[in-house]
Assembly symmetry: D2
Homo-oligomer: 282 residues x 4
Amino acid sequence: MVNINNFGIIGGDKRQLYCARSIADDGYGVYLYGFDKCDNTLGIEYMELDAILKQCDAFIMPLPVSKDGKTLNAPFSSETIKIDSNFFTRFDGKPLFVGIKNVIPYSYENIYDYGSREEFAVENAVPTSEGAIEYAMREYEGTINSSRCLVAGYGRIGRILSQMLKGLGADVTVSARKLKDLAFIRSCGMKAVMTSDLGKGYDLIFNTIPEMIFDAHTLAHTACGAIVTDLASLPGGVDFEAAERLNIKAIRALSLPGRVAPRTSGIIIKNAVYNIIKEENL
Amino acid sequence: MVNINNFGIIGGDKRQLYCARSIADDGYGVYLYGFDKCDNTLGIEYMELDAILKQCDAFIMPLPVSKDGKTLNAPFSSETIKIDSNFFTRFDGKPLFVGIKNVIPYSYENIYDYGSREEFAVENAVPTSEGAIEYAMREYEGTINSSRCLVAGYGRIGRILSQMLKGLGADVTVSARKLKDLAFIRSCGMKAVMTSDLGKGYDLIFNTIPEMIFDAHTLAHTACGAIVTDLASLPGGVDFEAAERLNIKAIRALSLPGRVAPRTSGIIIKNAVYNIIKEENL
Amino acid sequence: MVNINNFGIIGGDKRQLYCARSIADDGYGVYLYGFDKCDNTLGIEYMELDAILKQCDAFIMPLPVSKDGKTLNAPFSSETIKIDSNFFTRFDGKPLFVGIKNVIPYSYENIYDYGSREEFAVENAVPTSEGAIEYAMREYEGTINSSRCLVAGYGRIGRILSQMLKGLGADVTVSARKLKDLAFIRSCGMKAVMTSDLGKGYDLIFNTIPEMIFDAHTLAHTACGAIVTDLASLPGGVDFEAAERLNIKAIRALSLPGRVAPRTSGIIIKNAVYNIIKEENL
Amino acid sequence: MVNINNFGIIGGDKRQLYCARSIADDGYGVYLYGFDKCDNTLGIEYMELDAILKQCDAFIMPLPVSKDGKTLNAPFSSETIKIDSNFFTRFDGKPLFVGIKNVIPYSYENIYDYGSREEFAVENAVPTSEGAIEYAMREYEGTINSSRCLVAGYGRIGRILSQMLKGLGADVTVSARKLKDLAFIRSCGMKAVMTSDLGKGYDLIFNTIPEMIFDAHTLAHTACGAIVTDLASLPGGVDFEAAERLNIKAIRALSLPGRVAPRTSGIIIKNAVYNIIKEENL
């Protein structure tokens, strides 16, 4: 990181603040823009746009960088910040790190998408899994310990979530489509079922598969008496209307990392940015 | 359980409802008294006092059976139920199961205290530990996974809580006074410290020791930057005023089983009652 | 499995016997050929070749089916069994299940290679990992519990072995090349290092990577004072000569499943055969 | 440890050598007596009795200090060393640390029994448990992972062994007599049974209870098809004759720490000696 001494954090929520804090703790200069409505900036200095553009060598923008493709995702800013060509020109070719860069209607040369990185996705599966457990604890009138849990899907979240549930003492079943994943699941001392044949008798069900797995039929046969948490990104994998009809409590749990663990989420963003800097020799 | 076919559940909160439900699921007759304000009695039938006294062979009262030594602990009852000699006489010598019997100002012969049983205390350490984790998840802006946790005390709660934290992927240190407990802690792959020398650098601290462990001095040296959850029964083990002065977030977490997991708590009451019935050949 | 009622087990070692036993326990007819020197065939009936060819609907051969490409791998047979075109013709087109089919110098139409299946490899990582632990326990004068272990590589064996070592209470570090694997490793509460930078201070090192990772330089810097177990298939990943020169104890641990757990290995073969039958509608 | 600078290690086996090595690594002077037949003393200097008595401030003897009550337990000594009053007089009142002091037919004032300490017993439960697993791995033709294990007794060894078996992925049942222990067992995600009602269907059974639990009747009903390892000190808890009659493989596993992990055992002795020195201000 020979060429970057000062980072500008442009917009975003608490995660970006914690990201800023963690970079500052590593000894770099860090400055904020787009946080004027924020009471507590964790000790990080606020700057005007002109000043921060001049002061900093690289800039970190939020995940997603924009929600509408026109303005910066900056909930702590009192003003709307337009992300048009004019905006990007002012960064003068310095490196920009953003989450989900293809929502930006402008092609900036020196831009890096930390949100598309594999290790970023795996690291975020940790706060997602913990958030799912926190939500389930809140809703369920029993304990996770000794409850019968089904985790549908054995991708990043399925692997980490099932392991945490087991660590709390639950009786865990995990579903997968591939025989090799069923073998991995069993090697962990958990029960494995095919996703096409989920069984029943669960207290808590967590869906991690971004497909309509829990349609009316499957809900009726698998989820009666259970609480269903849908962790799959929209449109999700649970038929919420059918769940209501069947009197099955179903929770849509989206964007958990930022909600339940902004501090960890901010550090995960920092880690991804550092990894890019290393790989790209910035 | 040859002589008991019908159980009367007299007063109490959601835990007693779940206790009732679970006994009914075992095939026994179960009836409620003191729940007239409750909307959803989980399908258990409500009775008037005269009827229930006649119908049932044994009665289960809440934990604690009374909060003031004069009236039944019955938050779902619209009337106050006095627990005077007159009240107890009406039970006609049939077995009564209560939590904390020595708050009752009357000596009934056939009374059993499920709340004083050792296995009851151990089983309740499970919802207590999960509740502590749920509270910590809510307050902490990071994840339990990879956080540095200190559990002060290695009694029932310390044993179960530390194991659950480790199961979530935390970096767990446990304190104890006895060398043999330190050895047990280490055998679990956790760090062990003497309670007299707690160290520092923790994100989350859980006190389980019913003594003033976290006084101002210890808070200042051990807990800076941490969230402290006090699980010890009153007067507790944390100086909350000092914590506020030192700007340390401290949470008093009492009566967790009933709050976070009434269903599990009700089943734990049932288990204890069944164990008494077996031991006493009722 | 509509068309197969009787299985012939042709050649192999103890694993094939346990495979036979387990199939028989499922209710199928099972017969052995090539086991005449075996004292205890676990209650499975022995047959002559003509009889077994007539009696059975499908045949299972060992892993590897041949060691020299000319004769059947049949250590319990008193005669050499040639696997020439004549041999295969006698099977009359019935399904054959073999391990590593490309060592056979003949193209039989209805042949299936259970040894190349992914779930077979994952399931075998379990006995391999346990075997590695058994060998390490035997050689090491300390306990695995609280020892400092390095697992090089986070493939099938790395994942399962590291988890088992942690389950015994070891202080586990795992190496990987991909950042996403490092993230998975950390999510399990283990330390993660890049394979290019293994560190030092280990008591036990397990190599699972089929490349020369532990050359003289790495041995000298990483493995001094440690016991090194090489689990990678030949030519392996440890310079054994350098290890000897450096006075580092190094163990080559090959073909562990059959050695340490023939019963489990036999059941794993059965599972793979059943999976093929299901997929191919045999 | 203000008054002790040099330790004499008098007799014993490999454990005492590792104890010596570990004390020397802490910076103390350490000398050996009674090891003249030993090829490799791990770099510790050998001395004659007169010299070592003069040189050292405290002495550590083995566990047990004597097997016959007359001579020192010194398998590496070419001479027999009598432990009569004459022998002890020569130590001149300096502190002696021994294992099982009541086998000594002489009352020495400044003698401490490290073998009777509670934390010593807990620490030794770790190598005992690992040794039991190593023996079971060697005998069993399946894997511990996914095997059905019964641990009889939930004392020191039961607690640690059951946890290790679970950590390897076994399906673990533990027996206890007290209801509160059954509750602890269940809280760990393991099955709990009363010791009086062990059930059946196990692959591996480990007895830790020093009473005749596995008599002919219990063996016949609980252990058919299983391998039974008896970890209880003599006379043990398994009827080995009945086991043979019933064709059940039974292993007597005694003195495991010294056999399977002399290094760890030596460090455990050191820890206990240090704890005594601290407590007694020696």
